[in-house]
Symmetry: C2
Subunit: 165 residues, 2 copies
């Protein structure tokens, strides 16, 4: 690792944040910024996570996605356990700099701890016609992907499931 | 609007939330769930926002994206002011049901209050080679889109800018 440390700029004006070339991310009151991660080839949404300042600096420095795990409360080099490292092809920031978009190539092709390629493997049906047919407004999810890329037990063993109820 | 009200299920087990067909979204301590919105044709990330339970129910019932505006603290029918309504082509939910993915068709082609097609019009360069060249770790954003689809002053007039420093 280089000795150079990535620095973020203070947020001073709306013009600077929205229309300037300063990287001046807005970390929330937990010190986190929202991250959206898509497959650089297919455009598929793989996951949505968070970075703290350290994770963002490491992502920029190394070109590999680092996150902050809210459930485990640790810096998280994605793929360190599973091998499914995310190589950053492009990193973008939104207008008010409170969200990052990572376009990545995923080693091994999976991003979801449940074993699917993407965390988004279920569809919510929409529209008045659908809702009216349902008993008392109950919504039944539909599967868009039923094939797991890996078995979570093989990869994570008995590590605690990060899903919180 | 139909009299049928969309209902969400209580979150009872990890199995139910991750592998079941119940829609059991996790709203955070502010009553919000994160939403990622992409262009259904191009896969481009248009915006990242939030919904409360009412916004999610309305999105499901009407097939048009409704959000909760954190800066304005109101239910927000996207496009009500600008005309850039988002028709939901597909709505997906992630493994632990704390994030939604909206794939939309945008009337008028813009989603960003600054006037660009997408909120993500600037790239953050990554990689050790880039960082080492920079003076004291400063990062200079690069533009990926320089053409505004509309003039915000024409559309929003003197309404307060939603960006918070």
């Amino acid at each position: 690792m280089s000795g150079t440390q990535v620095k973020f700029q203070p947020r001073e004006t709306i013009q600077q944040v929205e229309e300037g070339s300063d990287l001046a991310p807005k970390f929330d009151d937990r010190g986190l910024i929202t991250v959206v991660t898509t497959d650089a080839d297919s455009g598929e949404l793989l996951m949505q996570g968070y970075m703290n300042a350290e994770a963002l600096a490491l992502t920029i420095q190394t070109g590999e996605a680092h996150y902050y795990s809210r459930s485990r409360k640790v810096l998280w080099h994605k793929g360190a356990t599973s091998g499914f490292v995310q190589a950053v092809r492009e990193l973008l920031v939104d207008d008010d700099q409170d969200c990052l978009w990572l376009r990545v190539d995923v080693a091994g092709g999976a991003s979801c701890h449940v074993g699917y390629r993407s965390c988004f493997y279920r569809r919510v049906p929409v529209g008045e016609a659908y809702v009216e047919q349902q008993s008392e407004g109950q919504i039944d999810l539909e599967w868009t992907d039923t094939e797991k890329v890996f078995d979570p037990v093989d990869v994570y063993g008995d590590a605690p499931n990060p899903t919180l109820l």
